[in-house]
Symmetry: C2
Subunit: 396 residues, 2 copies
């Protein structure tokens, strides 16, 4: 018999995917150039030429049996070693090969990290606004996701609300900075305050509380800044990374879990992830892709287009009169809608072929998400449409 739990999930199709499908269909009618599709976080920058060159060299020159052979369960050893070294170079961390577990993207990393440090019934806390898939990522482990409401002014952590949520059954905090959908990059002060609170609560409760840090946007930071590396501020941190955004390889499903060498049972995290893999049918990202990214670990694509797009949109929207926190990174921004009901607002924008995602599915009312990983030329053309829409519908 078909599993009823999963059957019941069928109705809950992702709002983002539905809007994206609408945009594609609408593009078929009026030409995709005329649809301002700001729905999906699909990188618009091609992967770096060096990655392609490495892959071509692997296919041309290496032994196909080695290239396509089974990797060890936690990932290819030399790849894990290079990942550890790259992190150590860039963030002054102390990872060894034994702390790195290769995964199929951030989703795979989160699936392992969550199962590793929680058990069914435990509480996992995240902060609104949050990536809607977290509900399923956590829900399917049997743990319960609790949402700390947003600080709608700064989109940093709402500590007052956090302290209310932090009960003794809390096993993990799921953190996402740079943040999808707000574009906020938590400052060092925020991270230090979070670490201090969690350290205190660990002592009070007498058990570990892990930070599971979801970091696919780690390298997309504006104004020449860097994202503070959370694991450097809190020992019990599992960093979950994906090369989807920094190297524009979302379809290749490649990422990792990096366990802080000072976390509890740090030598067991990777072996336990390996056991988790056996049960969820994971068995490593593609071997050729592992070998390919291992050669370009310190690189990113040219990500400057995202900053260009952000500045264009931010300047124009605030000029129109939108309230918006300026993003510190990612390729998202999260302005306040021009009426309370974000869905109603986005439906009206849709009439102008501005396809925006209402904020409700991100756990925060009255806002909308713009994914500006798209051509700058199209962003420029959208600005007049935003102006016309705000003026005609909202008299701005």
């Amino acid at each position: 018999m078909i599993n009823e739990q999963y059957k019941a999930m069928l109705g809950g199709k992702s709002v983002i995917r539905q809007l994206s499908e609408y945009a594609t269909a609408r593009g078929g009618e009026i030409g995709y150039d005329n649809v301002f599709d700001f729905t999906l976080g699909n990188p618009s920058v091609p992967c770096s030429g060096r990655f392609t060159d490495e892959m071509l060299a692997l296919y041309k020159e290496s032994d196909p049996i080695a290239l396509h052979g089974y990797s060890q369960s936690p990932g290819i050893r030399t790849v894990r070693e290079k990942v550890a070294q790259s992190l150590n170079r860039r963030f002054s961390t102390g990872y060894g090969t034994e702390h790195i577990f290769m995964t199929s993207g951030a989703a795979g990393a989160l699936a392992h990290a969550l199962r590793c440090v929680t058990k069914p019934g435990d509480k996992v806390i995240t902060f609104a606004p949050y990536f809607p898939e977290y509900i399923h990522y956590v829900g399917c482990t049997g743990a319960k996701l609790s949402i700390v409401e947003a600080d709608k002014k700064t989109f940093e952590i709402n500590f007052k609300a956090l302290e209310k949520e932090l009960t003794a059954d809390t096993a993990a905090i799921l953190v996402n900075t740079p943040n999808n959908p707000s574009g906020t990059v938590y400052c060092e002060e925020t991270i230090k305050k979070l670490a201090a609170i969690l350290n205190e609560k660990q002592r009070e409760f007498g058990h570990d509380i892990f930070i599971i840090s979801d970091e696919p946007y780690r390298e997309i930071v504006f104004d020449g800044k860097q994202t503070p590396y959370i694991s450097n501020f809190y020992d019990n941190t599992l960093s979950c990374y994906s090369f989807s955004k920094s190297l524009s390889l979302p379809g290749e499903r490649i990422g990792y879990v990096a366990a802080n060498p000072r976390c509890t049972d740090s030598d067991l995290i990777v072996p336990i992830c390996t056991q988790i893999s056996r049960g969820i049918g994971h068995n490593c990202p593609a071997s050729s892709i592992q070998l390919g990214i291992a050669e370009v670990l310190d690189e990113t694509n040219d990500l400057s287009v995202y900053e260009t797009n952000m500045n264009l949109l931010y300047d124009a929207l605030t000029d129109i009169g939108f309230e918006c926190r300026r993003p510190g990174g990612t390729f998202y921004m999260f302005p306040k809608a021009l009426e309370e009901d974000a869905t109603a607002f986005c439906l009206k924008a849709k009439e102008y072929d501005l396809i925006l995602v209402p904020s409700d599915s991100f756990g925060c009312e009255g806002h909308f998400r713009i994914a500006y990983c798209t051509d700058t030329e199209k962003v420029k053309r959208s600005l007049d449409v935003f102006r016309r829409f705000a003026s005609e519908v909202y008299g701005m």
Copy 2:
């Protein structure tokens, strides 16, 4: 806190992997050429040149954003369409695109198929000898794996034992033909008899019993024969496939679930697999590999070396006096050990640098597995070692 369930699994390292690691270490001491490592099912035939050519063309000629972009959750649509068409051509099936769900290998396929048609507490039946990972694949879904003891004469299904196991809580039967470790290819008569019994039990119990058919060795069949395609004999069949063996791509983690169009809720299987993916962090096999295999679906590598190796080993071992059912396919054989205790037998063989896997972890006593996916030249050299071993230790 570290999850205790997974922590408890840490002791249970795979016997096969342990022996394989021993063989590698021993190879370091005496030269790998001198170690007759028959442990791992890692294909020894390189992937076909056509696959490599397709991949080179994709990397050279296609738009990197399309090549590496997110695929739809059930897999890239054109790839699924081609998989359906290839199956229909080869097995006279009636698959549509909507029945195909792309997965990261057979492990990914089984993880989805099992969760799709069972719920925690349900019984899943498999037949000894079986692939030891089944214990974890099933166990981590919350279902219970029940083993039907082997028919040690033919290694076809032991129907008498099956009828005893087939209780009303049975949700699925996990079938593996061509079989790892015995090399048996179930004949049509066996499959028809299984289908008749299951159809009767479905009526009696008033609920579905699915066959989950694990088919990575489907194309490795000897004597010019074909594996009967199980789904053609029983409607409620989910076929789980991997390109690991037929195209020698085990590290690339690519396979699929194909839902019989006549199975219960056949239009829901793929959408439900998509929901399952969200919870286990799966999110598709690598996009470039999907696109690559889609061009070589009707092909296999030159697999004849496995038949050559099988014949050499089968003839020599039976000549020595080993009892062995002649394999119909795969790259395994499963002779009877020369003493009751298979582990003791394999430890003695190890002294001759013959690295064999004892049968106990396959749920069947007194046998051993030879994985002969290795150089024919090495297989030839091993025959004298087998002779010397059997003569010196067992006086044969």
